[in-house]
């Protein structure tokens, strides 16, 4: 026996520090931990190796007796063989498995949002007071023709002759991105749907059908058609504001989804239309799309199925050739393109893929917008930027770079109480968000969640109005793609060229 009891070589990351004097032994912390990281032995005791720092125990403790700290155990410093790498190797040596991780790329790649600054009016043109003056954020997602035609009516008025393709309207340019029932709980999905309805925006069902409790919100729901075709039938397509063909996801470009059998509980089985306990496999690719003209075929198959009543969006991960791909998608007849950058989150992805594949949304978005403009087809499609939009600031810069709207997922989950412990793949989320365990999911009250999401969207919208005001415009379309109002700080010439912005001072 090389190691006594085959003990894992992986060291605990965190430890729970419990103030024995403050603790009144109510055991709420023990009950609240989804990971079973606390036990009672003559008082509350932490099981360090199980703690993921989700802070649920800290939050529920009525006495403020718990805090979570980093484990003090140190490795001898080595700038190349870091502790996280050593432990990943231990993990694979112990299990022989592909290391799974959740949420977005964690590596320290440059965030271009953090190197972009926004212009403001001074003297030569006036800024606008967004509180008292009109400020318009209404956004239409869908295909727009090159021109419109009018005709004279018999009483000598003009009326619109062109029949505009179907668009969906957003009261503010924010969408809740695709998170499936399975990756998150029904309670979380309901909170998102309720908030989307109240804010006049959209939420995305993610792959795997639409649970019947979400049916009342259908006018605010984008339904997804992914490679596994779970839950996809005619009713599902019709019960929507828009249909999204999911080709890729920023956190795991080029690979698909896999909902493990243990998460396929009764509500998921019903929604995905598969038996309880079976793996739900939706690997890339779509097996009716092996080429760009096949995408056209699926787009029009969906349009035919809904008799041209629903816009069709195509979601892709931001990859090297994203500009050419987006051009092809536009020409294939899509009404919108959802571009997901490599910071995009996930409920589970191989860590190697999450951390090493894809490109930043800022660069992808700029490249796509440029390419579509060069080809004269930008108006034919709406661009939704996603994958690492953290704040209103990021959203505003994305719009300036050319996005019609942004989609948020991780930020929305944080609004719902997520503490970024990045353990979604375990299904143990103590906050009732990324879990299907009924005792955990019932902690998340959809009404409470919806209110917090509404607050978030309202706050971001107000911040967007503030910025539009200081830019001296009173409609978001005057800033959309207006890169003249953005500048880079500390970026090199290549980066500035791709972003299509000047350096600050120029």
């Amino acid at each position: 026996m090389p190691f006594p009891g085959n003990k894992s070589l992986i060291q605990p990351k965190f430890r729970q520090v419990i103030n024995k004097e403050l603790c009144r032994r109510c055991k709420r912390c023990i009950l609240s931990c989804g990971f079973g990281a606390l036990k009672f032995e003559n008082g509350v005791v932490g099981i360090a190796e199980k703690c993921v720092a989700c802070h649920r125990c800290v939050n529920v403790c009525p006495e403020g007796a718990i805090t979570i700290q980093f484990s003090e155990l140190s490795y001898r410093p080595h700038s190349y063989w870091r502790p996280d790498i050593i432990e990943e190797l231990y993990c694979q040596a112990e299990t022989g498995g592909v290391v799974l991780a959740s949420m977005g790329n964690e590596r320290e790649f440059r965030s271009y949002f953090d190197h972009i600054v926004i212009d403001a009016c001074q003297v030569t043109n006036p800024s606008i007071d967004p509180l008292r003056e009109p400020m318009e954020l209404r956004t239409f997602i869908g295909r727009k023709p090159d021109k419109i035609e009018v005709e004279k009516t018999h009483d000598n008025h003009y009326k619109l002759k062109t029949k505009l393709p179907r668009n969906v309207v957003l009261d503010t340019p924010i969408i809740f991105g695709g998170m499936s029932l399975g990756s998150i709980s029904l309670q979380a999905q309901k909170a998102l749907a309720m908030a989307a309805q109240r804010c006049g925006i959209l939420m995305n069902s993610g792959e795997g059908g639409l649970h019947k409790e979400l049916h009342p919100y259908a006018e605010h729901i984008i339904v997804q058609c992914a490679s596994g075709r779970f839950g996809v039938n005619r009713e599902y397509l019709e019960r929507s504001a828009m249909i999204e063909i999911k080709i890729g996801q920023g956190a795991k470009p080029g690979i698909g989804g896999h909902l493990p059998g243990e998460k396929v509980t009764a509500p998921i089985s019903e929604t995905r239309m598969i038996p309880i306990g079976t793996d739900a496999l939706s690997p890339a690719p779509h097996h009716d799309i092996y080429s760009i003209e096949d995408l056209r075929q699926l787009i029009f198959s969906l349009k035919e199925a809904t008799r041209y009543e629903k816009p069709v969006c195509v979601k892709i991960s931001a990859v090297h050739n994203v500009a050419a791909i987006a051009s092809g998608i536009t020409r294939a007849g899509a009404d919108a393109i959802y571009i997901d950058g490599f910071r995009g989150g996930t409920g589970a992805a191989p860590k190697t893929v999450r951390d090493n594949v894809g490109i930043p949304i800022e660069l992808a978005l700029a490249a796509v917008d440029d390419q579509l403009r060069r080809e004269g087809i930008r108006n034919q499609v709406s661009l939704i930027a996603a994958g690492g939009i953290r704040t209103a600031g990021d959203m505003i810069k994305a719009i300036g770079l050319g996005a019609d709207a942004v989609a948020i997922c991780t930020a929305a989950l944080i609004a719902l109480g997520c503490h970024m412990c990045q353990q979604c793949h375990t299904g143990n989320c103590s906050w009732g968000i990324a879990t299907q365990r009924p005792e955990l999911t019932r902690r998340l009250d959809p009404e409470w969640g919806a209110e917090r999401l509404v607050n978030l969207v309202n706050a971001w919208s107000y911040e967007l109005k503030e910025v539009l005001g200081l830019l001296g415009v009173n409609a978001v379309e005057s800033f959309r793609g207006n890169r003249e109002r953005l500048r880079g700080v500390g970026l090199n010439e290549v980066e500035l060229r791709i972003l299509g912005i000047k350096h600050a001072g120029e």
Binding site: Y290, I292, R296, N321, A324, Q371, R374
Partner: protein
């Protein structure tokens, strides 16, 4: 930027050498209108210039008259030019395509806006130091020179008794523009394109050619990067950044220069899986193993269906796991290779046989008799 494009294509080959006009290929490609997006189409025809059959037929495009003069002075230096003329064209009247189930009558189709289009019938004119070079190799290097060095000039085709007509627009509109129905040949290839890159360049359309090779391609070659780098070691210059260019050079290298039989060359391009190689009889296994070891960098990986033609034959083949469609049909001595069965049925409603070839298994048509040309030989 790398070009990515999807498409539909059709090849028709008459093994008895019987000549027929371009209306067939035109109707077949119109039936697959949905597979293109109006940004490219083209046709190759074999047997169309019998009066000049011993001359290299060069089809060129030029941005302007100045470039034409420059390219022509180069051609005159390197070749003996028997005859030159603008390629005859007329704005598409859309006579044939109005009546195709492939075409939406409500759709507006763009006008054809051509560059200068010329053709030259020529023989090589080598200097003493070039005498040892074969005619074909000489032509290849001259084509490479024009494409790379003369900005604004581009060689569309360079084979004997064959020609390529291609450009930007819907394939069926280009067919009428080039008056395809006026040409007669024993073999035709048609292609409709769905590119995802900046439109507007006529050279980027298919078929892609070199000498009498004409290649059309449906799919995207995921191995493009390494295929290109391997070809560059053998003197090919991949200036177009298209998958199809690479495919053409791979075939030229393996079949013309390395003299591999076509079936074997195709095994290098779309080789069997190791799982199945391991089960082969010794002799076959050693051959395929060697092909994979030597030509591993030329394996074409990713979704593709290609049709390639030359003056003696035509082949259709697709990738190892059949990610692109390919249908074949036979009627008497006439062989059809297509992206969709409906295109074959459009021009041959009752074929003797129609089938879906398995992955990596080529459909090969070859001339069994010499074509009989109506014109006297020059």
């Amino acid at each position: 930027m790398r070009e990515i494009s999807g498409c539909g294509h059709i090849g028709i080959f008459d093994q008895s050498g019987k000549l027929y006009d371009g209306e067939l290929v035109m109707r077949a490609i119109a039936a697959m209108h949905e597979r293109g997006n109006g940004l490219g189409g083209g046709f190759a025809v074999y047997g169309c210039y019998p009066e000049y059959r011993d001359y290299y037929a060069f089809h060129l495009i030029f941005d302007d008259e100045h470039v034409r003069k420059e390219a022509e002075s180069f051609l005159e230096e390197k070749f003996f030019i028997e005859y030159a003329e603008p390629i005859p064209v007329e704005q598409s009247k859309r006579l044939y395509t109005e009546k195709s189930s492939g075409i939406n009558p409500e759709e507006e189709r763009p006008e054809i806006v051509p560059p200068l289009l010329w053709r030259y019938f020529a023989k090589t004119q080598k200097s003493d130091s070039e005498k040892h070079i074969s005619d074909d190799d000489y032509v290849v290097s001259m084509v490479m020179h024009i494409n790379e060095k003369i900005d604004g000039a581009y060689v569309i085709s360079s084979g004997k008794n064959m020609g390529v007509f291609k450009g930007v627009g819907y394939a069926e509109d280009l067919a009428e523009f080039f008056k395809i129905a006026d040409y007669r040949g024993y073999a035709w290839v048609g292609h409709t394109r769905f590119p995802t890159n900046t439109p507007g360049w006529w050279g980027g359309a298919h078929p892609f050619t070199l000498l009498d090779w004409a290649v059309t391609h449906n799919g995207e070659i995921s191995s493009y990067g390494i295929n290109k780098r391997h070809l560059e070691m053998f003197g090919y210059k991949c200036t177009l950044m298209t998958d199809t260019e690479v495919m053409t050079y791979i075939l030229d290298l393996l079949i013309r220069r390395h003299k591999l039989p076509i079936e074997i060359a195709l095994k290098a391009v779309a080789p069997p899986f190791w799982k199945n190689i391991d089960r082969m009889p010794d002799e076959e296994r050693e051959l395929i193993k060697a092909l994979r070891m030597v030509y591993g960098s030329l394996m074409v990986n990713g979704p593709f269906a290609i049709i390639f033609a030359w003056s003696r034959g035509m082949v259709g083949i697709n990738d190892r796991i059949k990610l692109r469609p390919m249908v074949a049909g036979v009627k008497g001595e006439r062989v059809f290779i297509s992206s969709e069965e409906s295109a074959i049925r459009e021009i041959c409603p009752e074929p003797d046989r129609v089938w879906n070839p398995r992955a990596g298994q080529p459909v090969i048509a070859e001339l069994k008799e010499e074509p009989e040309y109506a014109v006297s030989r020059k």
